[in-house]
């Protein structure tokens, strides 16, 4: 943590000055080995040096962080660990959360920065990040997403998810490998996952690909049997909707 060589791409001079001051305060031995005010110089910077940490603004000319990263990937440049710095961009923040990238909010708080320096993030999974950003901009979800298991980051695919359930206000994705906490709400997932998933209960969303059987028992709670052997309750007022969805699904499969 002591002798970090960092670089920054940021179009505003005062913001660059502030980050340098903060870095000087928090880790006096760190050195700034390069700074760039726009994407073109940023590319040159990435080609020239390999910093331990790159502070990357989101919006700068000509095409912002995502455009520049895309070009850098195509040019085969080595991508250093990145801490994104942004004032307010809901799409970008959403993408960072899904792709488990490190981000700082402007004006940067020393505590946030200290935490980031204490555990310098790995280089981002660029294809995952770009794919996620494109998806969040068009209000869909990418195929892949990440979950955190303590310090580890695990990449999962929606098609491997059996069901999503809330339990004591926490959201879990259930897969063949077990269940993982997801830092999201069920509501924000429901509409984006709707065609492939069906909500069978206030707190349960099920992947249609893993549905085996619907067991409607009059007088009792109906149960949905998954291929994993799990049995999940179907709430009474959603039963008709679930039935209809399954009927359409099986019709699709028949033809």
């Amino acid at each position: 943590m002591n002798s970090i060589r960092f670089a920054m791409i940021e179009d505003e001079a005062p913001a660059r000055a502030m980050l340098k001051h903060l870095m000087a305060d928090l880790s006096p031995q760190s050195t700034c080995i390069g700074e760039a005010p726009d994407g073109d110089e940023g590319m040159a910077l990435l080609g020239r040096c390999a910093p331990d940490l790159l502070f990357l603004d989101i919006e700068f000319p000509p095409d912002g962080a995502f455009g520049m990263l895309d070009r850098a990937r195509r040019a085969g440049l080595v991508i250093p660990p990145i801490a994104f710095v942004t004032a307010y961009d809901s799409y970008a923040l959403d993408a960072f959360r899904w792709a488990a990238c490190h981000y700082l909010l402007k004006p940067v708080e020393p505590d946030q920065l200290r935490e980031c320096l204490g555990r310098i993030p790995a280089s981002p999974d660029l294809p995952l990040l770009l794919e996620t950003h494109a998806a969040t901009r068009s209000h869909t979800l990418p195929d892949r997403f990440t979950v955190k298991i303590r310090d580890r980051v695990k990449v999962l695919r929606w098609r491997d998810v059996h069901s999503i359930q809330t339990d004591h206000r926490l959201l879990f994705v259930h897969t063949a490998e077990g269940r993982f906490i997801l830092d999201r709400t069920l509501e924000e997932l429901v509409e984006r996952l709707e065609p492939g998933f069906v909500r069978i209960h206030r707190s349960i969303l099920v992947n249609l690909a893993y549905v085996q059987e619907l067991d409607p028992s009059p007088g009792h709670t109906s149960l949905l049997l998954l291929t994993s052997g799990e049995r999940l309750p179907v709430s009474r007022d959603r039963l008709a909707h679930v039935r209809q969805t399954l009927a359409q699904l099986f019709r699709r499969i028949e033809f």
């Binding site: 700068f60 000319p61 095409d63 912002g64």
Partner: protein
């Protein structure tokens, strides 16, 4: 004599029934309106005050009539207190309602027919006849189609059930009584007369149901209108001053503090001036073009920090137009758009011109321009709608480079 007394009694029964029906309907609108937002004086035990301070500190969590949560900034005034339904278990609800309706029946029976045991029993009986099927129906048929719209919640399923029973009953009376009369060889015409009260009763009930529902709908619609206006105001504020602008300005000031304390001071003043103008603007319906220009100046002054010497701006306001009334904050989103989208991806010098002359305002920039098929964002859409409401208009003028917008006042 005997016949007359009996007819008199029937008249009394009808009176009780009619009064009770009206009263119970009105009452059940108080207590059963658990899905609606009601003022506290109407809450009557089944509603309680909604969650108070919650979420972001100082913000009030409120619900609009469709149940969508939104945050109100602190100090936000509203005539409506958000209320939450209290969901009691079914047996307790039934017991409460039964007691209440029986007591009401006793009261109405005593008041309208005289305080005789017979009348009190009659009133209580009518109350029970109303409440038990209604509540049972509400409970049993709560998954009926009314679930679709929360305003037609489960409370209505039971009432429609009772209504259907009544209609069937009166129809049956109109058919069965004459049939019996005909079968017994009695005059058929007279039987229609005896079926008449039953039919009249159903008709009255139907009318009361529909009338009271209409009243409630009108009341709820008024509420939602007031709320949506308030919400629109809040959203409009958010649309007119981008959070982006605010945070970037704060970040810029942070960066200036050490190297250029004077610059930081100046920037803080500019931000204060911008905020003051915006806050003044959202409270007014109109202000002069002069004030709008000084708002834009405050914004540009602040943005000059970010852009440094990359940005050159020209503002010209014809003195003849200085006092022209305009909707407040109408130019702000246009300038913000230009700075944010027009210049974001431009390397090198950026210039922005704003001229007010000859009854029109022209804004011109040399940024990367708008693609012709680009849809209006929320900012531009709001501006367009607000101008249209004033009888003014906004149009995009053709230009070689960048973007050129024209606002025609009147």
């Amino acid at each position: 004599m005997e016949l007359e007394a009996q007819e008199g009694m029937e008249q009394d029964d009808l009176r009780v029934l009619a009064m009770l029906t009206v009263w119970l309907e009105v009452h059940s609108h108080w207590v059963n309106a658990c899905h609606r937002t009601f003022p506290p004086w109407m809450a009557s035990g089944n509603l309680r005050r909604g969650p108070g301070l919650q979420g972001i500190s100082g913000h009030h969590v409120a619900r609009d009539p469709l149940g969508i949560q939104f945050l109100r900034p602190p100090g936000f005034r509203s005539s409506v207190t958000p209320m939450e339904p209290v969901n009691r278990p079914f047996p307790i609800r039934l017991a409460r309602r039964t007691l209440l309706c029986a007591a009401t029946g006793v009261l109405v029976g005593g008041l309208s027919l005289g305080w005789m045991p017979r009348n009190l029993f009659l009133g209580a009986g009518v109350g029970l006849v109303y409440v038990i099927p209604t509540e049972l129906g509400n409970h049993l048929f709560r998954s009926w189609t009314f679930q679709v719209d929360r305003n037609w919640g489960p409370a209505w399923a039971g009432r429609f059930f009772v209504l259907k029973l009544l209609v069937v009953w009166s129809m049956a009376m109109a058919v069965i009584l004459p049939a019996i009369h005909w079968g017994l060889g009695l005059p058929v015409l007279g039987s229609f007369a005896s079926a008449l009260p039953h039919m009249a009763f159903s008709l009255i009930w139907t009318a009361v149901l529909l009338l009271s529902e209409t009243v409630t709908q009108v009341y709820t619609a008024g509420l939602s209108l007031a709320q949506s206006e308030a919400r629109a105001e809040f959203l409009a504020l958010k649309a007119q001053l981008q959070p982006h602008t605010l945070f970037n300005a704060l970040n810029g000031i942070c960066g200036l503090i050490r190297d250029d304390p004077r610059g930081a001071e100046e920037a803080t003043r500019r931000l204060a001036s911008l905020m003051r103008h915006v806050l003044m603007g959202i409270e007014q319906r109109h202000w002069s073009l002069k004030e709008e220009f000084s708002l834009v100046e405050a914004l540009l002054g602040l943005e000059a920090l970010r852009f440094g010497n990359r940005l050159s701006t020209t503002l010209y306001l014809d003195p003849a137009m200085a006092e022209e009334p305009v909707p407040p904050l109408i130019l702000l989103p246009l300038v913000e758009n230009s700075l944010r989208h027009g210049f974001r991806s431009k390397v090198g010098l950026c210039s922005l011109q704003l001229r007010a002359q000859d009854g029109r305002i022209i804004m011109e920039d040399d940024g990367c321009g708008m693609s012709p098929d680009a849809k209006d964002g929320i900012g531009l859409r709001t501006v367009r709608e607000r101008l249209r409401a004033e009888g003014a208009g906004l149009c995009v003028l053709p230009t070689v480079q960048g973007c050129r917008l024209q606002v025609d006042l009147r």
